[in-house]
Subunit: 343 residues, 2 copies
């Protein structure tokens, strides 16, 4: 049984120096901690996701098995459930919400893990996309606590091209006058449509579209490409526009070396990751291409690069959207990593 | 010496049935026709390009050598020089400009070639990107006239993913309220910035950005990625917004089989291409990926797939932007094709 919770962080100082007043993390956990609290898995949320979005990957018989592990899913800042532009009072409401980095997210998650769950050790930090970026940050920031990481379709630092893809979707949304610099009363519908349409070109591969796999995507039926794009617009439009933009800035800022310990030295930060890691990019991912991970893994002594052979592109790693064979490939990677990490 | 010209088409019936009144083609040609008019090369323009943009590839010592060939460069409709939204009077002005397909462009170009240049045979139709799509159309529509084609970074039919990339940049521009459904008096600046930023993520590869190749792109110096993006915005903003959108709709409609002769049977249309062809996609092109050409070439009896090994992505085929080694690779392909085609 899954239990949802809310963890009060109080006045939370961010990496930027800004203080987010009365900050909080929403979270959910599945399964029970064992007696020595050695079976915790951390599985953070990704872009435009919430702890509900993570659920399809968590089930008995899957790698993330709540009958064996206590799987903790902290909601990322800006996702609408943890502190976000849409739920924070002035002066940090709407577009005035400060930059929150993956570093900030992981500090808050660390407090959740230690203060609420009393953890000293985490069996695995696993994650997809921005959640993979958080897994990398965990390994760098709390090496004594993390037994292993499994980043899926995500990098330790956002690449220039990935940054540019995000800059594009951001501007596509903000160009809508109805966004009003974040002061909208009604959602900026046309901006959200432009955002979602551009995003859809990046999230799935050329082959996904060529082969018409969108027709049966997400367990639904789409007769036309346009009807699939309408679905994607509906999906993103469930989220608040300023929240979507807040998560974009978090993503654009992702960099395990952007902290006083490493001072921008990415190679040193990667070399500091001594725990076992299985890094799983997808062959056809357009914004987290395997090459970015290959370069990173070359610096990580205990790591393995294991490329998901899928035509789904980035969303090969997205539970509930990826085909069963991609889920199975990833589950095998997670099981192997847990074994390697000693769980 | 290059000579510019203007060819009056009169009232020009389009594939859609619409009639474009007083239509015209702008063009330029380099070099002289020989006595038997056997040395003509057709080299149409591409997206956001004009005959001036084609010039860097045309020079003595290059494959497109005006001392040997008469190289005719017809301006594509909607490029601001041939009939376009920006230069057409009501009722076809601005966003009311009708859909012009590659098929329509090639019919107009055929009239130019026969009525102005009195050609019975064209030694080669070569082209980059949308211009490559026109080369494919030439081979299908006028097989008796075309000795060979060399499509560079372009396909016979726009793929679903390519269509989606274009839909994204289109919406990014149109979302700007300053576009006013095409009725702007001042250019929609923010829409053009969003358009250009999204476009820039697609036009060059992930590796192009990872390796910082934008810093010396287009023979200029850019200290930051943002300054390069500003350059790209400036580049696209030279063009009229409705013209940019008109060329997008042409591109989205590209399909050699969308005509009465083939009635949507793409394989039959590809099989009908009996002239020699050297098809040159770039290894890292994100919207005309090699796989699309591989599928096409498998149906074309006299064709060769020759992949440009470049990290520049789509713009590996863009004269004046691609590095010298990509220019040289393409020139070799053009020379080989000319030889194979009997010139």
């Amino acid at each position: 049984m899954a239990i949802e919770g809310r963890f009060e962080l109080g006045d939370f100082e961010l990496q930027s120096g800004d203080v987010l007043k009365d900050a909080f993390l929403s979270y959910e956990f599945h399964g029970d901690l064992n007696a020595d609290r050695s079976n915790a898995i951390l599985y953070p949320t990704w872009y435009a996701g919430t702890h509900e979005t993570n659920r399809p990957a968590i089930a008995e018989g899957r790698a993330l098995d709540p009958s064996k592990y206590c799987i903790i899913v902290p909601d990322m800042f800006c996702n609408g459930l943890s502190s976000s532009p849409s739920n924070t009072p002035p002066p940090h409401d709407r577009a005035r919400f400060p930059l929150v980095t993956p570093y900030d997210n992981v500090i808050a998650q660390h407090r959740l893990c230690t203060e609420v769950f009393d953890l000293e050790r985490i069996a695995m930090v696993a994650g997809f996309s921005m959640s993979a970026q958080q897994a990398f940050h965990w390994a760098v920031m709390y090496p004594e606590m993390v037994a292993g990481i499994a980043p899926i379709c995500g990098t330790a630092k956002t690449s220039p091209h990935n940054w540019l893809f995000l800059e594009g979707v951001k501007l596509a949304l903000q160009t809508d006058a109805a966004w009003v610099g974040g002061e909208y009363e009604e959602p900026p519908k046309e901006g959200l449509r432009a955002f979602s349409t551009v995003y859809s070109g990046w999230a799935m591969s050329q082959t996904f579209y060529r082969e018409g796999l969108y027709r049966t995507a997400a367990g639904q039926q789409f007769d036309t490409l346009q009807s699939f794009l309408d679905f994607m617009t509906g999906f993103f439009s469930q989220m608040d526009a300023n929240d979507l933009l807040g998560m974009v800035t978090t993503w654009q800022a992702a960099d395990i070396s952007d902290n006083p310990k490493f001072d921008g030295d990415l190679e040193a930060a990667l070399r500091s990751i001594r725990c076992p890691a299985i890094v799983m990019p997808c062959d056809t991912d357009l914004y987290f291409p395997p090459e970015d991970n290959r370069i990173e893994v070359a610096q990580m002594p205990e790591s393995e690069l294991r490329i998901i052979p899928s035509v789904y592109g980035h969303i090969a790693g997205l539970p509930g959207f990826a085909p069963p064979e991609d889920d199975a490939f990833i589950d095998q990677g997670l099981r192997d990593l847990l074994l390697r990490a000693g769980s």
